[in-house]
Amino acid sequence: MGELSDPNEKIGLSLSALSDWFDTMRIRRGAYGGPVIHWWLCSFIYCGAGANWTYEGLIEAYLELHRKTRNDLWLKRASEAAEYLLSLQMPDGTYRNSFFELNPLQGSSSVHEASADLGLISLASYLESIGDHGGKYLDATLKNAERSLFQRLWDPTVGTFRSTDNILIKSSYVFNMMATVAQVFLRLYQSTQEAKYRKLVSSALSYILRYQRKSPHEILLGSFPQGLRDENAYALYNARILTFLLDAHKILGDEKALRAADLCGLFLKKLGRKGGGFAFFANREGKIYDYPNLVGGMAEVTRALLELRNFSTEHSSFDEKPHVQWLLGFQDSIGGFRTGAGFHYDVKKTDYKDVFHVCGWNDKIFRLLASLFQGHTLKEKIGTEMKETCWIEKTRATFIENDKQVIIQDPSEDQKIIYRWNKGENLGFVDDEYLKYFVRIAPAQSILGYNISDMIRSTVRV
């Protein structure tokens, strides 16, 4: 982005470009698709839309922009996204295609369904606040919450939500996921004053708080491990728990939640980096890992700490500016923010995964920037195409994105297409020679520092 002295103008410009980019990612009305890059598994070939956490940030950002600009386009965009979610709801309350990086799959993913619900609840309450009717969005959330989240995930024996239907495995207890699911019931309690929702939330809250690290390694103090099986403390996921804790404090007046949020905030600050941004995670010994640095995830951390600033004197001095500045450095001329940095084993090189723009990460940045935006109008669009050199292991390639396509091509003379996704389509295309880099690979090879794309070791054209 250009050098602008007025930070608000900078944010306005960034928001404008980002919202334009989101418009290019619509598969159809309200449905946002595209490749998905995640730190543990990517989906390059299947690019269809689904009901996932993209919609929480997207809907809330559009609503925030409507609140600040009164431009009805933003409300229309939020409503279209919500209508699309409603169109995916199955009779049993679940949403089809709610797995993000694993789509398309049958069944439903707790955290993505719950996040979509949070977007719908925000829209419903916003519509009510401006004298409109948001009942159907609240009804859809209630249906999902009652029939899917509660029926499938509530574990009465321990008094919390599991992250999967699989009852007896320890890995089904993931704290950030249970926090997001509990947040749905918390917001529903706020909307309906239904006492049973309050009970569920209080119980889940107590369960989560039990696992906050109170004494061990100095760095880990205040952090939440990922789950009962994974003791790493990830910045992004801790930020999501923190947001839930603050909501619990706001809605239920729970002081314990605020104290826990305070501590968690301290942990997140320790992961802060000098030039802005945050490290990816700290392992159980307190060793900090920077990469892969997910920009959308870091936006969530910044947003959580900003919210905490309003409630806690200890965090009142938190300065978001270096982090926002750092984030803005990842925005490309096409308007989207790249996924992050450090997917390549040589972190100095830009990996092809770094440079993809993903709806389900950009929504988090969109929401953060919209909350910081002070102005009343947005600037016009600034870029239509971007080109960037990236690396596929040892091969140099060119990443190109415009309104119509995302392409990775060989920079040599023949300019062979390595990867192509025509925006609006469900499926991408990969050249056979490079297929092994674009199929879904489950384990987190990036953070372990080696590559397992050998899974498809040879592709033979006969």
Partner: protein
């Protein structure tokens, strides 16, 4: 309710609503149970109603971790006193089981008549601990659990065995129809070549019957690797503009369903499938319909001389998919030739199969060393009538059938059990720090000499057309 109707309609429910069952109705169900016949009318049954949630969790751990302990509003443990049986154990050892079975079946039918769903689970893995936990005297044998609740799903009846296939005259093996007896649930031979199509069709019926709507009797499940495989097939189908496609023997449709969601979001692509019998075809079509997938499923035509024919017009399809089925079929070549006849001139077939001496095949062989003629049911997804063919042989057969192989994608994988097992082993011997690296890619790099899974894309050789 008419008894025969109740018997035909009752299905095992695996999803229950949280709505409690009224006490009066539970009493009616138990009343039906106590009127069942028991050995010498001794009525030695007892039952424990397990309500306490913490207790249910503990019991679940002793009973193969069944999830129903949390879902079902009513959990009953059926007991039978073996010590007071009048008939000596040596004379009629199964009286307790038969008496309990009659008791339970009466309850299930009565529950069904009241609109209540039920499920029987006899997996009690740690009986001794269960006795201690529930204070069960030693003379009482825990027989099974009965779960009751209002069903939260509609269960379609899986196919049933033909009466003529299990009624023997005078001696075992002489079916009353006089025809040859079809194989049991698991094949007598692991080599599909030794099977007739009719036997294979019957096996498939039973696999569906055995697994029901929740089981996945596939040689490989849908994981990130097989998802990649479906990604590749859908991408190639998209590139080729395939609009009308046929899947061979989708069974529960794990792979076809996954493919449909990629290529057919707006009903742009027409999906067809062929199954081995009318019953399985109806079942599969119903299961797809439940997921909102339009797929026309037809039954394979079997002839007297063990030949097969597809019930479709010649040259009517753009593409054919076959996911992990060539390993099963008694005669691969006949199927591939049928595929050729229904494909248009430049049509394509995508075949995914388990490769001989890949990780899955090696495990299969190790298991069959132990029980060569009677596969262990616990390994059903690795056993059954499939015999991983070598890649070269399949490529040769594809060529023989009149196709030209365009691409061959090779996947390396280890079954998750082996990966997890490998990691656990390293932990147990003090090398836990290596387990993350070794559990997946290390194994693949070091032992993946042969691909576990192969995906072949082959094009029908047309008259003078280029591939």
């Amino acid at each position: 309710m008419d008894v025969y109707k109740a018997i035909r309609e009752r299905r095992s429910s695996r999803l229950f609503k949280k709505e409690p069952i009224p006490q009066e109705e539970l009493r009616v169900i138990l009343d039906a149970g106590r009127w069942a016949p028991t050995g010498c009318n001794k009525q030695l049954f007892e039952t424990i109603l397990i309500e306490d949630l913490k207790l249910r969790r503990q019991v679940a751990r002793l009973s193969n971790n069944q999830t129903y302990f949390y879902q079902a509003p009513v959990v009953l443990l059926m007991l039978y006193d073996e010590s007071k049986e009048l008939v000596p154990k040596g004379v009629a050892p199964d009286v307790p089981a038969i008496s309990s079975g009659a008791f339970v079946q009466n309850m299930l039918l009565q529950a069904h008549a009241l609109g209540i769903g039920s499920l029987v689970v006899s997996a009690i893995t740690k009986k001794k601990k269960l006795r201690q936990l529930l204070n069960i005297p030693n003379c009482y044998e825990p027989m099974c659990f009965v779960f009751l609740g209002y069903p939260d799903e509609e269960v379609f009846p899986p196919p049933r065995r033909e009466i003529d296939d299990f009624v023997h005259l005078n001696k075992f093996g002489n079916l009353i129809t006089g025809r040859k007896r079809l194989g049991a649930l698991y094949p007598n031979s692991p080599d599909p070549k030794k099977w007739t199509w009719e036997e294979y069709a019957e096996f498939k019926k039973r696999i569906i019957h055995y697994a029901g709507p929740t089981g996945i009797p596939e040689p490989v499940g849908l994981n990130s690797l097989t998802s990649s495989l479906i990604d590749i097939v859908s991408m190639r189908m998209n590139c080729r503009g395939i609009k009308k496609t046929l899947d061979l023997f989708p069974s529960e449709g794990l792979f076809l369903r996954s493919l449909a969601w990629r290529i057919d979001p707006d009903g742009d692509v027409q999906l067809f499938a062929v199954e081995l019998s009318q019953e399985t075809a109806e079942y599969v079509e119903h299961m797809f319909g439940k997921d909102g997938i339009r797929c026309q499923v037809e039954a394979l035509k079997l002839s007297q001389n063990n030949d097969v024919a597809f019930p479709f017009e010649k040259e009517s399809f753009d593409g054919v998919t076959c996911f992990f089925r060539l390993e099963n079929v008694p005669n691969r070549l006949s199927i591939l030739r049928e595929v050729k006849s229904v494909l248009r001139d430049d049509g394509v077939i995508f075949v995914a199969f388990l490769n001989r001496l890949g990780a899955f095949d090696i495990i299969h062989r190790l298991i069959s060393l132990n029980k060569p003629n009677n596969f262990n049911k616990r390994w059903h997804w690795l056993s059954g009538p499939w015999c991983a063919p070598p890649k070269k042989l399949v490529l040769k057969e594809i060529k023989q059938a009149g196709f030209q192989t365009v691409a061959c994608y090779q996947f390396y994988d280890l079954p998750s059990l082996l990966r997890i097992g490998g990691a656990s082993l390293l932990h147990s011997i003090g090398f836990g720090h290596l387990s993350e690296k070794a559990s997946y890619s290390g194994f693949v790099k070091n032992t993946g000499l042969l691909p576990s899974i192969v995906l072949v894309e082959a094009q029908k050789k047309g008259d003078g057309r280029t591939v």
